[in-house]
């Protein structure tokens, strides 16, 4: 049977580039935000990362906060985290 020409059903994508945030020059004095998605393992993961960073010299303020796993973080949380020098996000399930 002869081939037929058919449309590709997935189309193109349009992905907005999201470059990595600048790396911290040093941990000393850095204010670090911690955001978890309220699922069981996320806070544990963040606590362990925080402990590792403290061992490596992190000694600044740490802000721990949580967001609902079913939606993007609301502006109130984002505004809070914008005051940080770095933010660590844990998404778990």
């Amino acid at each position: 049977m002869e081939d037929i020409e058919v449309f590709v059903p997935v189309g193109e994508t349009r992905v907005v580039g999201r470059p990595l945030a600048p790396r911290l020059a040093q941990l000393d004095g850095a204010r670090i935000g911690w955001l978890d998605n309220m699922k069981a393992n996320a806070p544990e993961l963040l606590r362990n990362i925080a402990a590792a960073l403290i061992k490596r010299g992190a000694n600044g303020e740490m802000l721990f906060t949580s967001k609902n796993a079913t939606a993007a973080a609301p502006e109130s949380i984002l505004a809070h985290l914008r005051n940080c020098d770095a933010v660590v996000l844990a998404i778990s399930d």
């Binding site: 081939d3 037929i4 020409e5 997935v10 189309g11 193109e12 939606a71």
Partner: protein, 352 residues
Amino acid sequence: MSNTVSLDPETLDDEFEARGWGDGLPVVAPTAERVRTMLSYTDRSGDDELGTMPPRQGIVSIEILAVNAVMAGCRPEYFPIVIAAIEAMLDPAFNLFAVQATTHPCAPCIIVNGPIAHEVRINARYGAFGPGVRANATIGRAVRLILMNVGGATPGILDRSTQGQPAKYAYCVAENEDESPWEPLHVERGFAATDSTVTVTAADGPHNLNDHISQKPDGILATITSGLSDIGCNNAYLYGQPTIAFGPEHAAILAAANLGKDDIRSHVFEHARIPRTLWSRGGMAGMFEDHFPNDEQLPILISPDDLLIIVVGGFGRHSCWLPTFGNTTRAVTKAIAKMDGTHVRSIKEFFG
């Protein structure tokens, strides 16, 4: 044809499956002629875009919607309904990204109201949530194909639903307005009765509410509220907008006692509650320990107004409810309309 491949029609389904295009069922080949015919049922150009669809961020052109509608087996007159459903799902309030990617089994349920539901013969009566009618089956399937092909909701990849559910194949129903004693859903939501609309809600499959015994509202409402008091559904801890789809017989008993939709909403808000003692034994309460009101009987709605009520089905004393993903997705209603926003009363209006 802009983005095409040449395939042997005998092996087309195998090729599509190998490339990850589709829902696992055989498809209608999306040829240029078929896609052109589908596009003739809208006044939009194939190049028009509705946005991008998460999580893949596929570009939602009218042409790609037509391609998938052809694959699903849609009659061309269904196409304006498919477009309206996708527009509704792309509304930020629907939170499609989360609906697509969650471990929860939710699927967008498409509820069609107004004269066009009749015109294209969407089933609103016996077995309306089930198989047997091409409009329900293929409109629902077209939406699923778009969610998978354009949105990238492939199970286990970007669709992380733990178990999925059968309604992810197709989930389209019309409200049985003819046998409803109440105002139809789209009128409640601000549209004219002569408008035709699509409402989307991110729902579990229908949960049956069977009561063939009760002859009075108290009994039926007890059955309803017992069914909704479900610690395992997302609404129990995330609230949101569940739907009750009353069978016409249950609706008639309630209406005969002069109970309107708002009366039912108030009753459900007050009585569909979960004892705090049950939350202490299981469920998701631990996720939001400070979130619950300090009551011993905890509601499944933030507000009575959040309960959607429709009438669906034929004879027989069954109703059902559609739990949802939670309060971070809201039901969205869009009119079936021309590109300039003019609401249409008939599919024929797309031909001038």
